[in-house]
């Protein structure tokens, strides 16, 4: 069993850390995992993305053309990745930053205003956790408890004050269920 997630957005939206959180969790529940960022000039302020592959066996390609899930945190990311989501897969859309509807009808679309949700929690930096939560609520990827545990373990000391808000953001995001988990 293998699943692939691409998380994309502006630099500074916490895209790479969101991916790493999934990777840490996957490792800690004993799965094989790869995390690979887009690297290069685009990481200085433009769009950033990372690909996370989670599998029960040795992973072949860390690059995926048609991932089972995409998180699009801004419009350029939606434009780039919408057509690439595998049929039947999950597309999480941060509607706070995206003013157009999703065109695909053969995938599960989870659209939520992640920025407003995070701000309502008093935790505007937790946008990335809201969308990760939304993914976890709609895709049978990793157990939420394990993600919480990994989040705590990999939040550096200087950021510990954000931990509570981040955990709340994960749960709040997960409440946005579109249907049965894929």
């Amino acid at each position: 069993m293998q699943q692939e997630v691409i998380i994309a957005g502006f630099g500074g939206q916490g895209v790479l850390f969101a991916g790493r959180l999934l990777a840490y969790t996957a490792m800690e529940v004993g799965k094989a995992v790869t995390w690979i960022p887009s690297y290069g000039p685009e990481m200085r302020g433009g769009t950033a993305n990372c690909t996370v592959v989670i599998s029960d066996e040795e992973i072949g390609s860390p690059f995926v053309k048609n991932p089972t899930a995409v998180i699009a945190m801004n419009k350029p990311s939606l434009d780039k990745f919408e057509q690439l989501v595998a049929p039947g897969g999950v597309l999480v859309v941060n509607s706070s930053m995206i003013d157009r509807p999703v065109e695909r009808t053969d995938i599960h679309v989870v659209s939520l205003p992640a920025n407003e949700i995070a701000e309502a929690l008093g935790s505007s930096r937790s946008v990335n956790m809201v969308v990760v939560g939304a993914l976890l609520g709609n895709l049978d990827l990793l157990p939420m408890e394990a993600v919480e545990k990994a989040l705590e373990a990999h939040t550096p000391e200087r950021h510990k004050r954000f931990l509570k808000g981040n955990v709340e953001a994960l749960h709040k995001g997960a409440e946005h269920r579109v249907a049965e988990k894929v």
Binding site: A23, A32, P37, G40, E58, I59, S61
Partner: protein
């Protein structure tokens, strides 16, 4: 030991440290820089030598000096930087002092780009520097393998008094995977007899690559070649996947190899009996297993992130007995598994030939794709 999620570049740096690296000299270049950055913090912490050199020329010649002391020394760079190091590598080969080079290959030629590529296969495996020398080339396909091969690289370099290169590409350098790092090895205490250390015992040592007298140089060349024969006999490494009943075999190294693995699995699901041979040592090249497979299988597909450089080594091993086809992407473009799958399906369903050159057929197909 527990696993940790670690970036390839950082993992190699830490693995080298744990293997007893005593001196590192380097110069920043993407996509290798995390390796230098990690050691810039860790080496001084442990009281070991770290210098960010004025250039790759400076770095490789600092390595040359430190290698002459017989200590474990290393440098790392990426394609354009390694080109600058070629002079020093030739001198180091000519002086027969051990060192480890990590080359995190990127797209080229020229300044190219910083995306993952394998276009430096010929430069590293078949030469680069001037003169008649060879070096051991290890090609990891995962972070764990990169860690494991790092310690091996030092052992091999010392055993044969040679350069060992770990050739990765930008994606292995930048990728995070769980890996188990080895325990710390104690630093080497024994200084090899040939190493300079000050003529304390009244016996002076001179390390040089100059041999003005051609017959003396020829003896030296012969010694290098004899050593290389031992390396060829003892140090070939590769990994096979689904080879037992394979009718078709994909050959790919490093990242191209693991991408091909995804394609091989997908092809198996479609009922195609295909396996994967992933060379781990590019030099010495696993020619023997290819020779054996040639007897058993119907055809080969070589997959690389270049225009078919290892392809020629595969063709030499297969020697026209079975069809060899090729698929590659270039310039920092990484193939997706489905592209390789298409090629495997073509191999299994269309008539194959040993005539002509696979590169020509690939180019004809590729220009349809990328024009």
């Amino acid at each position: 030991m527990t696993k940790e999620l670690i970036k390839g570049n950082t993992a190699v740096a830490e693995a080298a440290l744990r293997a007893g690296l005593e001196a590192y000299f380097g110069y920043p270049i993407t996509p290798q820089t995390e390796l230098l950055e990690h050691l810039s913090a860790r080496m001084p912490e442990l009281g070991r030598a770290f210098v960010q050199a004025e250039s790759e020329l400076g770095a490789i010649n600092m390595v040359y000096g430190a290698a002459c002391t017989g200590k474990r020394v290393m440098t790392s760079s990426s394609s354009p930087g390694v080109s600058l190091m070629m002079e020093g590598l030739s001198y180091i080969a000519g002086t027969e002092v051990p060192m480890v080079l990590v080359d995190v290959v990127r797209g080229g030629p020229g300044l190219g780009n910083i995306a993952p590529a394998q276009g430096d296969y010929n430069q590293i495996v078949h030469g680069g520097g001037h003169g008649d020398y060879r070096l051991i080339v290890l090609a990891p396909a995962s972070v764990q393998e990169a860690v494991d091969l790092t310690a091996l690289a030092f052992d091999l370099a010392e055993k044969y008094r040679t350069i060992t290169t770990i050739m990765m590409d930008g994606s292995i350098g930048q990728m995070m995977e769980p890996a188990e790092l080895p325990p710390f090895q104690p630093l080497k205490e024994e200084i090899p007899a040939w190493a300079v250390r000050g003529a304390k015992d009244g016996e002076k040592r001179v390390l040089t690559s100059i041999n003005l007298d051609p017959p003396t140089q020829e003896v030296m060349n012969l010694r290098l070649m004899t050593t290389w024969q031992k390396i060829e006999a003892n140090e070939v490494r590769w990994k096979g996947y689904h080879l037992d009943d394979a009718e078709y075999v994909v050959v790919g190294f490093g990242t191209a190899g693991r991408i091909a693995l995804s394609a091989v699995r997908a092809a198996r699901e479609q009922g195609i009996k295909v396996g994967l041979l992933r060379p781990i040592t590019l030099a010495p090249f696993p020619a023997e297993i290819l020779d054996e497979l040639t007897e058993k299988v119907k055809a080969f597909l070589v997959v690389e992130m270049n225009t078919g450089q290892m392809l020629e080594d595969v063709r030499l091993a297969v020697r026209g007995r079975k069809p060899v086809e090729f698929f590659g992407r270039m310039g920092g473009v990484v193939p997706f598994p489905d592209e390789v799958l298409t090629e495997i399906r073509r191999l299994a369903t269309e008539p194959q030939t040993t005539a002509g050159h696979p590169r020509d057929r690939w180019l004809a197909r590729l220009t349809e794709t990328i024009g």
